[in-house]
């Protein structure tokens, strides 16, 4: 089946166009390179926003799916004349559309934040664009091989971005990142290869229907193992305790502009994969491990929150807060009912926006003060009012203030949990209280108190302020008009729930 739409390819590979331009710009022309860096992220953002808008208006996403012949291996043994095929297939559903939109949006934001990169700007933006292609591709991929390909593109490009432009311990962080995630993707590859070897296809929708049949060459035990393998490989990415140490290092060492993408998008690939592949392929097995997910979620939530409370490095507070917030995603997934799943997806997107905003501010603070240690900062409100105001807004969003996206996500996720397991829900709420405590502790100590720095520090310029405002706008939009997210997700949730017989 060949189909001619090239819209998705255009979105995914749009950064490539500017990347080629970039290659011919002299190294020293920092201004031009930065401008190109910003412009390169725009086409994807504009196109995906337009697509999201169209989808809200009722566009049928199957019309933009793409499929081209790509690789054929030898003949598949069970059926006559059908080779093992891997096509070049791109397509979207509501969830991946939202993710691709988020990825392209945060890329634009991160490209503005990258103004703070002062050296080797050209090399930086080359890897930056590759990273963006990888992120967009991961969500647009309609088959596992393509998914894996883009997944590895993000792996390699992020390795270089951390290792070259990161902080003091950058190489160690980069290596740790590489090995943990390399292991995760290795396990994923094992699953992909096994599915491919046994079914002869890697197309996601074909596999989903195939795996629901009764006459498949897998025992239930096989399926359970595959599910556990998926949980490990995506669990490293999410990250699930105890696989989280690498992401702490990355949060602290990577340049903040990259952490915007890392925390906002890359960690979410884990949740995305767990939902699309784990729940999509193996609904019954997912149900069997759902209690495990709840426990893991609870551990993540509480462990992250407790540790966030005692950190004196703001980035680490945020890193642990990510661990904690991902716990809510796991709780939502583990609840395995409509509210839970919807809450989990909401939380994925909402946390993507909020953590991006927080790291956007970290980027500003770090560029002015060269530090983000809580003890060394204080009184920000008195000399950088715009930054301080944004920080407060971001903090409140993060702790789940009603009318912001964090609230609605956590609420729906917990409604899901309470429906199934009252006790776990109750324990989980302790985490929410802790969240308020550690966020306020960090934010207040930065914003108020006696200024520890010269009052001449420059506040955000308009160029820097605008992207932050746009993020705030979306956080509020989701908070007051959750249909912005829930409409596109309706069909996805329905399909997933049908899988588990709900």
């Amino acid at each position: 089946m060949e189909s001619a739409s090239i819209l998705l390819s255009a979105i995914v590979f749009s950064p490539l166009l500017v990347l080629l331009f970039l290659l011919f710009v002299p190294k020293k022309e920092f201004g031009t390179i930065r401008l190109l860096g910003f412009l390169g992220t725009l086409p994807a953002f504009i196109l995906s926003s337009w697509l999201l808008w169209q989808y809200h208006q009722g566009l049928d996403l199957s019309t933009i799916a793409e499929s081209r012949n790509w690789i054929r291996f030898g003949l598949f043994p069970d059926e006559e004349n059908r080779p093992f095929t891997v096509n070049y297939e791109l397509g979207l559903n509501g969830f991946s559309l939202l993710m691709i939109w988020l990825a392209s949006f945060l890329s634009t934001v991160a490209s503005v934040a990258s103004l703070q990169i002062k050296e080797r700007v050209k090399g930086y933006f080359i890897w930056f664009f590759l990273l963006e292609i990888g992120m967009l591709g991961v969500f647009a991929a309609e088959n596992l091989i393509l998914f894996f390909l883009f997944f590895e593109v993000t792996l390699v490009s992020l390795f270089f971005l951390i290792g070259k432009w990161g902080g003091f311990e950058k190489e160690k962080a980069a290596y740790q990142y590489l090995l943990y995630n390399g292991f995760g993707s290795g396990v994923l590859l094992l699953v992909i290869a096994f599915l491919f070897a046994k079914t002869g296809t890697v197309q996601i929708s074909e596999l989903t229907t195939f795996l629901q049949r009764d006459d498949i060459p897998f025992t239930n035990n096989d399926k359970l193992w595959l599910m556990i393998a998926l949980l490990i490989s995506f669990g490293i990415k999410i990250p699930i305790f105890p696989f989280h140490t690498w992401m702490l290092k990355v949060h602290v060492q990577a340049p903040p502009a990259i952490v915007i993408l890392h925390s906002g998008i890359l960690l979410k690939i884990g949740a995305y994969g767990l939902l699309q592949f784990g729940l999509g392929f193996f609904p019954n097995e997912f149900e069997r491990i759902s209690f495990l997910l709840l426990i893991l979620g609870l551990v993540n939530l509480l462990y992250g929150a407790f540790l966030a409370f005692i950190q004196d490095e703001f980035k680490l507070v945020l890193a642990y807060s990510s661990v904690s917030h991902m716990g809510i995603v796991l709780l939502g997934l583990g609840a395995l009912n409509e509210a839970g799943l919807q809450g989990a997806i909401f939380q994925v997107i909402s946390h993507g926006l909020i953590s991006a905003l927080l790291f956007y501010i970290v980027n500003i603070i770090q560029s002015r003060h060269e530090t983000t240690k809580l003890q060394k900062l204080g009184g920000l409100a008195s000399y950088m009012p715009k930054t301080a105001g944004l920080l407060l807004v971001a903090g409140l969003a993060s702790l789940g203030l009603p009318s912001m996206s964090g609230f609605i996500s956590e609420l729906t996720a917990f409604i899901g949990v309470f429906k199934e397991y009252l006790i776990i829900g109750l324990i989980g709420t302790i985490g929410l209280i802790l969240t308020a405590a550690y966020i306020l502790r960090a934010v207040l100590s930065i914003n108020f108190g006696s200024p520890k720095f010269d009052k001449n520090e420059e506040d955000m310029k308009w160029v820097e302020f605008t992207p932050a405002l746009v993020i705030v706008f979306f956080i509020l939009l989701i908070g007051v008009y959750p249909n912005f997210l829930s409409n596109p997700l309706k069909i996805v949730l329905l399909t997933l729930l049908k899988g588990i017989g709900g």
Binding site: G74, L178, L190, A193
Partner: protein
């Protein structure tokens, strides 16, 4: 046999071999009698010979299977595709050799060139022979030529040591193989593979089965020398390090491919049908043993490579590891991806490995050292080479988008598509692949993250750049459109 009968043979099936033989003879005669010779002319003549042989081989592709000289020479599909692989690999290595300049002023360039051709001839004979005698003669032709090639830098201690180790180890390995083959001959009374296979497929008494087992072990272990896997891998690091760098790349791609060719030819046809304990064939009976060897190869290769500071040595261990990956495909005995997977891996490995060696050659010329730190700052003084090396290393590490990924994925499929799947091999492959990230990315860290004061410019021969260019094209093209090669099979 009279002349008429001799002329009835379809000699044209052997055209590629004749061309290589002719050119090798021509070059050695030229070397003898041409007083004021220019080595480069000899080199280019050799290269033209290889290209001509490749073209003549391609014209033979549509031909039906040919068998002449009482089966000592067969031209079947297997022979065609693997000969093509050998020719392509040697052509690239040869181009690399033309650009090679030794620090030794008395370096015998002409011998250097035509010994590649004789070695290639041996390898081609191996892929095209269905008789134990010619198989073994081909093997020895390849081996002896490579022993000399390794020791060509006469004044260099390391080169001498390498040649010595290579000869002794190689001699032992050949002896073991031959010993095993003597059992095969004794049990079957024939040297023809087809005849042997038929004899062994008949039911055997227990004593014979026992002897078959012994001969299998001897043959396999002897041949593991050529493909550089456990237990005959110890020579690899020293020989790779001591040999002139084009020879190193020749050993790692052509010689290794030849090893796999003879392994498939001999072992599959002799032992594939022979029954071991009245239920399984010898091969199936020893599968567990082979799996353990394969796992050891992958683990040893990748684990020891971690500690290497010399990049050539590192790639030597990595070459052991890659041999392990290919062997994983061999021992899976998967009916679906068998030859494809091995063939594709070898061709992908050729491109990425020779390319990497070519970049190492540049760095060696520039800094005079092969230590990993001599790669520091390569990105700043030669971005193109740095990016090339990145592509080769990513491909060796098996990152998608490169030929190395498709090759590894193929092998995954062959280990998992059988019933029951060989999980243990697949998992070992994954884990060792991730271990290999550490040392491959270690070189990348030097290239991109480290600085160097040494900004001396070096010029290397333009053919080396052509080699790097070809290898990049091969690595990327096969990574993105693997069907170019896969459809071919």
């Amino acid at each position: 046999m009279d002349l008429d009968q001799l002329l009835q043979y379809q000699w044209n099936a052997m055209l590629p071999e004749f061309i290589i033989l002719g050119v090798a003879v021509l070059l050695s005669v030229l070397d003898l009698f041409w007083k004021k010779q220019k080595p480069s002319v000899i080199g280019w003549l050799g290269f033209i010979g290889i290209i001509a042989a490749t073209i003549s081989l391609i014209t033979l592709f549509p031909k039906e299977n040919v068998s002449i000289l009482y089966d000592t020479f067969v031209l079947d599909h297997f022979a065609k595709v693997f000969k093509l692989l050998l020719l392509i690999a040697t052509a690239i290595v040869f181009l690399f050799a033309i650009g090679y300049r030794s620090e030794d002023s008395a370096f015998p360039y002409s011998e250097f060139y035509y010994l590649f051709l004789t070695a290639l001839l041996g390898a081609m004979m191996m892929s095209s022979s269905a008789d134990l005698i010619t198989l073994f003669v081909g093997l020895e032709l390849l081996s002896i030529s490579s022993y000399i090639l390794v020791g060509l830098r006469k004044k260099n201690v390391r080169s001498n040591e390498a040649a010595m180790k290579y000869v002794i180890n190689g001699g032992i390995a050949s002896a073991i193989t031959l010993f095993g083959l003597s059992y095969v001959y004794g049990l079957s009374g024939s040297t023809k593979l087809g005849e042997i296979a038929y004899q062994f497929s008949l039911s055997q008494t227990e004593e014979v089965q026992y002897l078959l087992g012994i001969s299998f072990l001897l043959v396999f272990i002897g041949l593991s020398f050529k493909i550089a896997t456990v237990p005959f891998h110890m020579w690899v690091p020293d020989v790779y390090e001591g040999a002139p760098i084009p020879v190193t790349s020749f050993l790692s791609v052509v010689s290794k491919s030849a090893g796999f060719i003879i392994l498939i030819r001999m072992i599959l046809s002799i032992f594939g049908q022979a029954s071991l304990n009245n239920e399984n064939s010898v091969l199936e009976g020893f599968q567990t043993f082979l799996i353990i060897l394969t796992m050891l190869t992958m683990i040893v290769g990748n684990a020891v490579a971690l500690k290497q500071q010399n990049v050539k040595r590192m790639l030597a261990y990595s070459s052991i590891a890659h041999a392990g990956f290919i062997l994983a495909s061999f021992v899976s005995f998967s009916p679906y991806f068998y030859l494809d997977a091995i063939w594709f891996y070898l061709i992908a490995y050729t491109f990425m490995n020779v390319g990497a060696f070519a970049v190492i050659y540049y760095v060696k010329e520039k800094t005079g050292s092969e230590h990993i730190s001599s790669f520091a700052g390569l990105y700043h003084d030669s971005p193109v080479l740095a990016i090339s090396m990145t592509i080769f290393l990513l491909s060796l590490a098996g990152i998608p988008g490169t030929a190395g990924f498709i090759a590894k994925f193929n092998i995954f499929l062959s280990t998992l598509s059988i019933n029951p799947p060989l999980w243990i091999l697949a998992i070992t492959m994954i884990v060792t692949t991730i271990v290999s990230y550490v040392y491959y990315f270690g070189v990348l860290v030097q290239i991109y993250f480290r600085q160097t004061e040494n900004v001396k410019k070096t010029t290397i021969h333009y053919t080396t750049y052509i080699v790097i260019g070809l290898c990049i094209i091969g690595t990327i093209l096969l990574g993105v459109f693997p069907n170019i090669a896969l459809d071919f099979l």
